[in-house]
Amino acid sequence: MKKGLFVFILFMCILAAVPLFLGDPFVCHILIMTMMYATMSIGWNVIGGYAGQVSFGNAAFFGVGAYTTAILLVNFSVNPWLGMLAGCVLSVGLAVVVGYPCFRLRGHYFAIATIAVGEIMVVIFTNWDYVGAAVGIYMPILEESFTNFEFHSSKIPYYYIILCMLVFAIAVSYIVEESRLGYYLRAIKDDPDGARSLGIDIQKYKMIAFSISAVLTSICGTFYGQYVLYIHPSSTMDLMMSIHLCIIALIGGIGKLFGPVIGAFVFIPLMELTRVYLGSEGQGIDMIIYSLLVIMIAIWRPQGLWALFSRGDK
């Protein structure tokens, strides 16, 4: 574990130093997106990896985070940082409301129910005039500052903010993994009835995991809104985003602390680069490449890429 900590700190130092050497906004953008997806995928991993409850609706929390911040900012001029907190609260609320009935479902049925929830959210937001319906919401352009959570001249402040969020997510995930909660979630994933027979209230612990997942996804929603300054339903709640979160964790290593981080650093640059360089050749080449990657991993490294780095560990 000491070695793992060393690698982690080294990796974070490199990430923190990158903007000092690379001024290219495009590279910066790719890294921002990568870290954002890594953060969300860590969130997904708490419920989908540790607890084994595969969710295809996590994009809904992203949307709630983005929309809550945007609406509070546009209509009530509430500071985006406060909006982020409000988004977290609403996301946890949504997680509880969705989780209460859905966690009674087992196995694939939970996954299917979360797809439905995600799609319902898209339909509601696409038709709801108050939140801009299908047109979406433009953020007001404010003075550039950390308090306003808006920077126009450079992407680097965004880069450091999302880096902090990533570190936060890793810390949360680490605490979960090392605590009773993490052990219980793994027990629930392995054998729910066995877990119940040992006094574990599986409903309660799944709900806690889902709420943590919601918070980590929601803060990214806020970040995305402030970064792009324009949100609409299909950019913030798309089913494809939920699937990406799952795929990233799958590529990296499901139920492993650094799995989603590794997955994101492989998958997102690949997706962005293929989209930029092959986009004109016809959409979907990035999808073909990542599908191949998923198939290859499923065959040779079912534990995920994480297993490549940790032959000695465990």
Binding site: Y183, R186, K189, D193, G194, R196, S197, L198, G199
Partner: protein, 251 residues
């Protein structure tokens, strides 16, 4: 009646038209070992599931330490002090031996360090000390069953329900299981064992309860039960019972 730690009072459980448990009553005193036997399909596991609240009984009452528990859920039952194992081993496959025991120990020790210390103690009792970091799936069936008992033991139960812990074990392993059960009793745990292995259960049980077709057909000391007509009939059929009866009469 007040010294009874667990009372099963007229418990009935139906699955559609099938009555798996019909009006079953018996009570257990603190520190006893009770054997629950009967042919396949007699309703032993159903009764276990009712007591541990994996099923809720359709009729009757189950009382633990003076408190009715009939309609509670499995997790609260465990917290109250009734632990159970399963007929088919249900160790957590992705975890090692220590982690398996820790899942049980976390119930009374929320802190990870405490849970780990407690688990190491428990592992000592169950002779797992040199196997702490082995995957649960790499253990033999006999060891996995023992691990399941260890895991339940770590939750600190007053009553343990052990479902066929000796099934499929060889004679040496059965002997070990018997010693383990006696050791658990010495530690003040009341035990209910569903068992098919007669040489395992008969020498140690204080009383045996016999089920057949969902009904209780006999209850008594092991000696009383093996000579009970109804029990012989249930196990060997009417014909054999009759023949045996005639034989003893002639003698």
């Amino acid at each position: 009646m007040s010294s009874d730690i667990l009372i099963v009072d007229n418990v009935t459980k139906r699955f559609g038209g099938l009555t798996a448990n019909a009006d079953i009553s018996f009570s257990i005193k603190e520190g006893e070992i009770i054997g629950l036997i009967g042919p396949n399909g007699a309703g032993k596991s159903t009764l276990f599931n009712c007591i541990s609240c994996f099923y809720n009984a359709d009729g009757g009452r189950i009382v633990f330490k003076g408190q009715e528990i009939t309609r509670k859920d499995p997790e609260s039952i465990c917290r109250m002090g009734i632990g159970r194992t399963f007929q088919i081993v249900r160790t957590f496959k992705d975890m090692n031996v220590l982690e398996n025991i820790m899942i049980g120990a976390f119930l009374r020790n929320p802190k990870r360090k405490d849970a780990q210390a407690r688990s190491e103690e428990v592992a000592g009792v169950f002779r797992f000390t040199d196997k702490l970091y082995l995957k649960a799936t790499s253990l033999t069936i006999s060891e996995q069953k023992r691990l399941e008992v260890a895991r339940v033991f770590a939750t600190g139960p007053k009553v343990m329900l052990l479902d066929e812990m000796m099934a499929g074990l060889n004679i040496h392993e059965i002997k070990e299981s018997v010693e383990l059960v006696l050791r658990l009793r010495e530690m003040g745990i009341t035990l209910v064992l569903v068992e098919h292995v007669m040489e395992g259960i008969m020498p140690i049980a204080n009383r045996i309860v016999v089920l057949d077709y969902g009904e209780k057909i006999a209850e008594g000391t092991p000696d009383e039960v093996v000579n009970n007509e109804k029990v012989i009939e249930a196990y060997f059929g009417k014909k054999y019972a009759k023949r045996r009866e005639n034989k003893t009469r002639i003698q």
